[in-house]
């Protein structure tokens, strides 16, 4: 290995993530999804797929609730952890 390759090995050394990286809430990419979901809703309504439409709407509602709980819960969890850290 020449000098450049040695320097690259050094420059691209592994680094550690933050200690709590696993616990941070992830952001689902809700906004870009909306367009195709809206389009799908129109199509389903047009073909009169009543039951399928309800099913689809239910899953959309479920994903939004899960995202909301993920965000709110993640914030609460972090706050609790900080309070515990201060108390110790």
């Amino acid at each position: 290995m020449d000098w450049l390759e040695q320097e690259l090995r050094e420059a691209l050394r592994r680094q550690e993530p933050s200690p709590d990286f696993l616990e941070r809430p992830r952001r689902a990419h809700v906004l870009p999804m909306r367009r195709w979901m809206a389009a799908a809703a129109v199509v389903l309504a047009a073909i009169g797929a009543g039951g399928a439409m309800r099913e689809y709407q239910g899953h959309v509602a479920k994903e939004r609730v899960l995202l909301a709980v993920r965000i709110a819960g993640g914030k609460m969890n972090r706050i609790q952890a900080q309070v515990r850290g201060v108390a110790q």
């Binding site: 550690e16 200690p19 696993l22 616990e23 809430p25 952001r27 809700v30 906004l31 709407q57 239910g58 899953h59 509602a61 479920k62 939004r64 609730v65 899960l66 995202l67 909301a68 709980v69 993920r70 965000i71 709110a72 819960g73 993640g74 914030k75 609460m76 969890n77 972090r78 706050i79 609790q80 952890a81 900080q82 309070v83 201060v86």
Partner: protein, 171 residues
């Protein structure tokens, strides 16, 4: 009569959220926005599609039982200064109303995030929760309407889909 009915519905929608967020002007400056308005009907409807056999979804189902709404606005910015202190104050001022009590306020030295939790009490019962998190590049406001179990909420947030690590990772 019809107009009064519509007006009543409109008021009900506004009143469902327990305080105004007034932060829409931040959306144009934000790199990422989450805007969720889930009223009681939506929560009840969604609950039917939560899988009771999945441990996490079952816990969520239990958590949202009896709730009248979850409202979240969260803005992420590429650089600091995306929002003004007055934006945060406009929310905080509403949470100084007598029915609200601040139960937690913490500031993180790691990332400079200020986090506050308020509960709304009516007839000695919790009828709502507000969470306000202001970090240099992020502002998040949450209003949960109804009797929410904060410990269950925090527990779900700690391990949603991923088991919580018991010990800090070794270097």
């Amino acid at each position: 009569m019809k107009r009064a009915g519509l007006l009543a519905c409109f008021c009900a929608a506004l009143c469902a959220q327990q305080f105004k967020f007034d932060l829409d002007q931040l959306a144009s400056k934000a790199s990422d926005v989450v805007d969720l308005s889930l009223n009681g009907s939506t929560l009840q409807f969604a609950a039917k599609f939560l899988d009771s056999k999945d441990p996490d979804e079952a816990k969520v189902k239990k958590l949202i039982e009896g709730l009248q709404g979850i409202y979240i606005k969260s803005f992420e910015f590429k650089k600091g200064g995306g929002y003004a202190e007055s934006d945060v104050q406009s929310v905080r001022a509403q949470l100084r109303a007598p029915e609200w009590s601040r139960i937690v306020g913490v500031k993180s030295s790691d990332d400079g995030e200020n986090a506050e939790v308020y509960v709304r009490n009516e007839a000695s019962k919790i009828t709502g929760v507000a969470i306000l998190c202001a970090a240099p590049k992020e502002l998040t406001v949450v209003n949960i309407v109804g009797p929410v179990d904060l410990d269950s909420l925090a527990e779900l947030g700690g391990h949603f889909g991923v088991p919580k690590l018991q010990n800090a990772p070794k270097k």
